[in-house]
């Protein structure tokens, strides 16, 4: 059974439709990037998976109904909403005591080990820590929990580039293994590109694109076309054409690379390039 199975999720807040028939399937051991513009429904989708809100449709996470079985689900799911959700009044030592007290899968020694690599003092209150340190603290706690699914909703928003890089490096090196699954939503696509195994684009509450990173390499190609070959390139039905430094960049889906090489320099598009092309076509 897949780690996450969602079919036809629907949720509206008043007259705003946040999820409009959203489907998602995530298998164990994948790292999925959920990417979409502001207001696309990313947070709503993640909150539904975490049992934080009720929505229509079929949703199973680790074979549980998140809304009805949140307490059980949270034994196997960890969640970082963003940097600001740790209670500001709590002391680091109290936080460790508390999580050790309520979470059966928390390994306190492991968390202490991660914290030892930082400058966070055990006696500090969360409000005294910098934003970056709060993230380190939350990550140390989450990584010390032997969970099967980790959900990250814009986990590095507002952090500087050093902390952002360190955050994803720690996740990959010290946490991730093939028996865990990670779902991460973010705007900062470039930084997590090398981390992901799969990517899903969401727009206006629907899944508009889905691909594994391996398939992106084999399916999609971006070609920098010389002006004299532009007409030939257009004839091959590109997904998108854009002007770049006096030349045209064409994005192709499922066209043979050798054929494209005749037109100009071929490279694999970044997720950001794909995102712009897919969203541009959808709107």
């Amino acid at each position: 059974m897949a780690t996450i199975e969602a079919r036809g999720l629907r949720k509206s807040f008043g007259s705003t439709v946040a999820l409009d028939g959203f489907d998602l399937q995530v298998e164990e051991g994948r790292i999925l990037g959920l990417i979409g513009p502001n207001g696309a429904g990313k947070t709503t989708a993640l909150n539904a998976m975490l049992g934080l809100l009720q929505c229509e449709g079929d949703l199973r996470v680790l074979a549980l109904d998140p809304w009805k079985e949140r307490e059980r689900l949270m034994q196997d799911v960890c969640f970082i909403a963003d940097v600001a959700v740790l209670p500001r009044w709590i002391r680091v030592s109290q936080l460790l005591d508390y999580v050790a007290g309520v979470h059966p899968k928390f390994d306190r020694a492991k968390a202490e080990g991660f914290l030892a690599k930082t400058t966070i003092k055990r006696t500090s209150r969360v409000r005294e820590l910098s934003k970056g340190m709060v993230t380190q603290l939350h990550l140390a706690i989450v990584m010390a929990i032997d969970a099967r699914l980790l959900v990250l909703d814009e986990p590095t928003i507002g952090l500087d580039i050093l902390f952002r890089k360190q955050f994803y490096d720690s996740l990959l090196n010290d946490y991730f293994d093939r028996s865990r699954t990670i779902v991460v939503s973010t705007h900062q696509v470039e930084e997590i590109e090398h981390v992901l195994t799969d990517v899903v684009f969401i727009d206006r509450g629907r899944k508009v694109f889905e691909c594994s990173m391996d398939d992106i390499e084999s399916r999609y190609a971006e070609v920098m076309v010389r002006p004299d070959s532009a007409a030939a390139a257009r004839a091959m039905k590109p997904m998108q054409e854009r002007q770049l430094l006096g030349r045209s960049a064409f994005l192709f889906d499922g066209v043979d690379r050798q054929q494209l090489a005749a037109l100009g320099e071929v490279r694999t598009p970044s997720i950001a390039d794909l995102f712009v092309a897919v969203m541009g076509a959808a709107r």
Binding site: N47, L50, G51, L52, L53, Q54, R70, E71, R72, L73, M74, Q75, V77, C78, F79, I80, A81, A84, V85, L86, P87, R88, W89, I90, R91, Q94, Y98, V99, G101, V102, H103, P104, H138
Partner: protein, 279 residues
Amino acid sequence: MNHFYWQVRREIWENRSLYLAPIAACGVFMLGFPFALAKLIATIHNVGQHTSIAMPYDIFAGLQMAVMMMVGAFYCIDALYGERRDRSMLFWKSLPVSDLTSVLAKVAIPIAVLPVLTWLITIAAQLLMLLVSTVALAGNGSHVAMLWNDVSFFQRSLLLLYHLIMVHSLYLAPLYGWLLFVSAWVRRAPFVWATVPLLAIAFVERIAFGTTSFAALVGNRLAGNGMDAIVAHGTFPMDPHTHLTPIRFLTSPELVIGLLVCAIFVAAAMWMRRYRSAI
């Protein structure tokens, strides 16, 4: 049960006023105590002044009760609102603790934890007052005996605990329930929402029917007018020789209906915590 224990601990960590406020009240009272002590030494020769010997202890207990009601009310108003406002609810809900356990722990604070903390702090301070008075009266054995006899510390302590539990937690439970419900419900200005609807109901009743029964209902709870039920009629509740009537109180409709109202509000607060998102 283990989760409940940790939830209660986390509430006490967060709300240090639960024990700091009664301790601060002790500090304030101790400023006035030397004057009371001086008066005691000056007047203890006059037999027949016995009531004034115990008076500072009654005033002190009353002060602690007032402090406790305020701390309890402010705690309840913020208990479920604060975690939504600062978004820490997203962290609490990322852990395998149910809404039921979280909310029950929050109810337990004004109903059980706060009365016990207040009681412990109050009797510790009263014992200190007694010991200081004993030292001050030392050299006159009969006066010391009179002091301990009049204050009758152990009976007084038990009576205080009885009073705190019966009146300040059980009888006031519906009001704490209401405040917790408001705290879980509103998006802003919980203090306004906690008070204005009560005033509005009283006002509308006055206009429409010319009666004041709702205002009297709430007012009587706050003023502890149900005390008639916990002690025999007409006796002072803190008097060590008062006659307690716990059975009558526990079976009185006022108490039973009040507890039911509290249960309804708490169930609604639990439901709200499940559905409400961070603000």
